[in-house]
Amino acid sequence: MSGPVLYGLLGAALVALGLFGLVVQAAVLRKILAFNLLGGGVFLLFGVVARRTAPAGLAADPVPQAMVITGIVVAFAATALAVAMALRMYQITAAVTVSPPPDAQAGDA
């Protein structure tokens, strides 16, 4: 019974770290990295849950595990799109953050 609880706490810590990074870090690439850490934490919690919903005779419940596989692939696709957009934005405007320029808060969009 040791593993799941420990990894559950780790998942919680990763979610907190990822969320903190998403808010505090300015560069888009760092935000994307933080998003992936946050996602990793969420997936780990699914893994922990899979150990608890397993019936006698099975090491783990395959349903949440399949969900994590789906989730990892979707997160990869999202990362690829975010990176493509970030690179394009950098190419056109040389910007590496998404914070609005201070003078254009409500201006041209």
């Binding site: 979610v15 998403l22 888009v28 935000k31 998003f35 946050l38 996602g39 969420v42 919690l45 699914f46 922990v48 849950v49 608890r52 919903t53 419940d61 349903v63 949440p64 969900m67 789906t70 989730g71 979707v74 696709a77 999202a78 799109l81 975010a82 957009m85 970030a86 394009r88 934005m89 056109i92 405007t93 910007a95 998404v98 609005p100 409500a106 201006g107 041209d108 969009a109």
Partner: protein
């Protein structure tokens, strides 16, 4: 409860048609993509009507179990009244927007495929499929996948023009959407850990008010609120929606936020146990009220027409949250009226806001700019677009007869009837402020053009008629007798099929 019902196959059709169409359109490309999209989006209206008719006829949700696997092992597709009504709304708006974009994204027979045209037609179909998945999904994890599909489709449409100025705001939109999804997913992990299923109809009535469940609901609510741009998480929406091309703005504001809204209802009305939901609902409604007031006030002060319309979206989304404390309050009649009012607000706002964004786009094209202070001459150049803007404005303000009026009136009366008069005050105040910004635009467009300005360019009637048609639907919703909306009550917990 967990078996495929008669007419359940319609749900498969609703999902498979647009999705398979997108895959084929992507392979065939060019002109074929355009034709396929127009054909399938047209058929989609028929499917939407058929699903609604089937739900009405049965008087109960229709269900389909893919592969025949019943939840909790498998997952279900479910069309209750909400899903059917939203599916039909979606189909109508999508088809209208497809017609609107026909001229701009046509591929003539002798020309090569272009980036924008292929992306436009493919992602219209993708959006139709994603929204169908989001409305019909009966499993909270399946709904997560639908939300992600929706993000991809919506974002690609928003970036269609490839303008340098828009990447920053659209990328911020993407980040908010992704954070929203991942918080939602976190909630589903906790729910699965608590109950061993994510089917919202199986969860209904089974959930306990313990820490994992309440935290899950809070996380899912926060994630969905970020996707819906609920105050104070609204700052990403105006630049993202205003920076997109008009057709995309219409879909983002009109439809995409509504998918998150339906999921929010699934969580609050089906999954959350009633007591904590009742206790927490006023908090969400207070944020909604703040959104109405702040969004309307900021819209009033906007210098650019599209940003004005986008801030109006922030405000109008606020109304959707007002329904929660009223629906959960307990009194049967209040709940049923507020439920109808909220859903009618979602539907009529979809038509009205789509019309408004399309009209604003046409006005901007005719004038060559979209500064609110220099709209003179638009009335002569694109009269139908201006008329559409005005009609849609009536619905947003809540002036009778319009869908928006009926929606706000229902919310108002149920608030007063339940003694929660403060929400009524917000509704009235929001209506006044909305009147202010709509009047500001209309007065400007009717004025004569300034002497030194270039002459506005008259535009063809076709796209203007589309905007007008959508605006007329949003008005016509207010002409129907209340009993004709019995559809949306079907399948609501506690409704027992009672008509209002």
């Amino acid at each position: 409860m967990t078996a495929t019902t008669p007419a359940g196959w319609l749900l498969v059709v609703a999902l498979v048609l647009p999705v398979a169409g997108m895959l084929l359109a992507f392979v065939l490309g060019g002109r074929a993509a355009e034709r396929l999209a127009l054909l399938l989006l047209g058929l989609g209206v028929g499917v939407g009507v058929a699903v609604s008719a089937a739900v009405l006829r049965m008087g109960a949700p229709i269900v389909y179990l893919p592969g025949g696997w019943a939840p909790p092992l498998g997952l279900a597709l479910v069309a209750d009244g909400v899903a059917a009504a939203m599916l039909l709304t979606t189909a109508l708006v999508l088809f209208a927007v497809a017609l609107f974009g026909r001229a701009a994204h046509a591929t003539p027979p002798d020309q090569a495929e272009t980036r924008a045209a292929l992306a436009y037609w493919c992602f219209l179909l993708a959006l139709a499929g994603s929204l169908a998945a989001a409305f019909l999904g009966g499993d909270l994890f399946n709904l997560f996948v639908a939300l992600e599909m929706l993000t991809f489709a919506a974002l690609s449409l928003a970036c269609l023009e490839g303008k340098p100025s828009q990447f920053r705001s659209e990328l911020r939109y993407l980040l908010f959407a992704l954070i929203g999804s991942v918080l939602y997913l976190l909630g589903t992990a906790l729910l699965y850990g608590g109950y061993g299923t994510l089917d919202f109809r199986l969860l209904a009535g089974r959930t306990r008010a313990d820490l994992p469940t309440l935290l899950a609901a809070a996380l899912m609510t926060a994630g969905l609120a970020a996707k819906m741009a609920l105050f104070p998480l609204h700052l990403w929406l105006p630049p993202a929606h205003a920076g997109a091309p008009p057709a995309a703005s219409a879909l983002l504001s009109g439809l995409v936020v509504k998918a998150a809204f339906v999921l929010l209802l699934r969580v609050w009305i089906w999954v959350l146990p009633p007591l904590p939901a009742m206790a927490a609902a006023p908090l969400l409604a207070a944020l909604g009220a703040a959104a109405i007031l702040v969004g309307s006030l900021v819209a009033l002060r906007q210098a650019r027409l599209k940003l004005l319309v986008a801030y109006s979206t922030v405000a109008q989304i606020g109304y959707l949250f007002l329904m929660l404390p009223l629906v959960l309050s307990g009194a049967a009649e209040t709940a049923s009226h507020a439920w109808l009012g909220g859903l009618l607000q979602a539907g009529s706002h979809a038509f009205a806001k789509a019309a408004m964004f399309l009209a604003a786009g046409l006005i901007a094209t005719a004038l060559g700019h979209d500064r609110v202070t220099a709209l003179g001459g638009a009335g002569q150049a694109v009269p139908r677009a201006v008329f559409a803007f005005g009609l849609a404005g009536l619905s947003l303000m809540g002036i009778p007869p319009s869908g928006g009026f009926t929606a706000k009136w229902l919310l108002l009366t149920s608030a007063l009837g339940d003694g929660q008069w403060w929400w009524a005050a917000v509704i009235l105040g929001g209506g006044l402020l909305t009147g202010g910004y709509v009047y500001r635009v209309l007065a400007g467009t009717i004025a004569a053009p300034p002497g030194d300005a270039p002459r506005p360019r008259p535009l063809p009637h076709g796209p203007q008629n589309v905007a007008l048609g959508l605006a007329l639907i949003s008005v016509a919703l207010g002409l129907l007798p209340l009993a004709s909306f019995g559809l949306v009550q079907i399948g609501r917990p506690g409704a027992l099929g009672a008509l209002p």
